[in-house]
């Protein structure tokens, strides 16, 4: 799914990365705790989060996460946007809550970047 399709599905605003809307995304990870993102997220995924601070952007950068979707209409600071620009991380912003955001994207074919924390479900992934 292209970033532009994710934007359309969630009536999202593109805050950073107008030039990267053609990026293809197949997996996602949703969390507000960056501790968990650093432990479980995989490169290339979409990070769905309600945490809109610089640390979320820096976490995404560390892991080569493709883009951040800020959910629940969380307010964004200039600093957050400035760091996302500097590190080249696209930012989408939606008023949908995390559950709705994840559900709508899953329905359209995105999958978790991992299934379970112990990895036991991974064998069954066909795609």
């Amino acid at each position: 799914m292209k970033l532009s399709e994710i934007r359309d599905l969630l009536n999202a605003r593109v805050i950073v990365g107008e030039d990267k809307l053609d990026v293809e995304i197949t997996t996602a990870f949703g969390a507000d705790l960056m501790s968990d993102v650093l432990s479980f997220a995989r490169s290339g995924c979409l990070l769905i989060t309600g945490l809109s601070n610089p640390q979320a952007v820096r976490t995404a950068y560390a892991l080569d996460i493709a883009a951040i979707l800020v959910c629940r209409g969380k307010s964004l600071t200039d600093k957050f946007i400035e760091i996302a620009r500097e590190l080249g991380i696209p930012i989408l912003w939606t008023r949908f809550i995390m559950f709705e955001s994840c559900g709508r994207l899953f329905q359209e074919g995105l999958t978790g970047c991992i299934r379970k924390t112990d990895g036991t479900e991974e064998k069954t992934i066909v795609r």
Binding site: S43, N53, Y61, A62
Partner: protein, 147 residues
């Protein structure tokens, strides 16, 4: 490895002030930038960026001040995090997934799940953690470049 060799392979030294949450994570970002364009595989740079991130957040969260040093050897990257702080009384306990003494200011930042040290260990090929209560904590992580 002699001391001189280590100094030669020093790529960067970053100073970290405890409780200075505003720029938390910047050392990880800087370390990652400095590793790019050196022929190091992306997956290895990611591991180093995560290790640095977790170590950096721990120093900011728990210590008065500290440093992170990055060494690039021909066959490995070494991350050393040293801090002056309260130290860790029970290292085995601190290494247990979910154990955390993080306060609200750390949670608000998005951290404090008790995962960081486990994660550093998981992403390291060699992991050393030593601490003296009342003095500080020393962490050394080695990531091999050849798999």
């Amino acid at each position: 490895m002699s001391g001189d060799d280590l100094i030669e392979s020093l790529e960067g030294i970053y100073h970290i002030q405890g409780r200075d949450f505003v720029d938390a994570g910047i050392v990880s970002s800087e370390v990652k930038k400095s590793l790019q364009g050196k022929g190091i595989p992306e997956s290895i740079i990611r591991r180093i960026a995560v290790i640095t991130f977790e170590a950096e957040i721990n120093i900011i969260s728990y210590a008065q001040q500290g440093t992170i040093q990055l060494f690039i050897e021909p066959d490995a990257v070494i991350i050393e995090a040293n801090d002056m702080g309260p130290g860790i009384a029970d290292i085995d306990l601190a290494l247990q997934e979910g154990y955390s003494t993080a306060d609200d200011s750390i949670r608000e930042l998005g951290f404090g799940a008790g995962m960081g040290l486990c994660n550093i260990k998981k992403f390291s090929d060699i992991f050393e953690l030593t601490s003296e209560v009342g003095q500080g904590t020393h962490l050394k992580s080695i990531v091999k470049l050849n798999g």
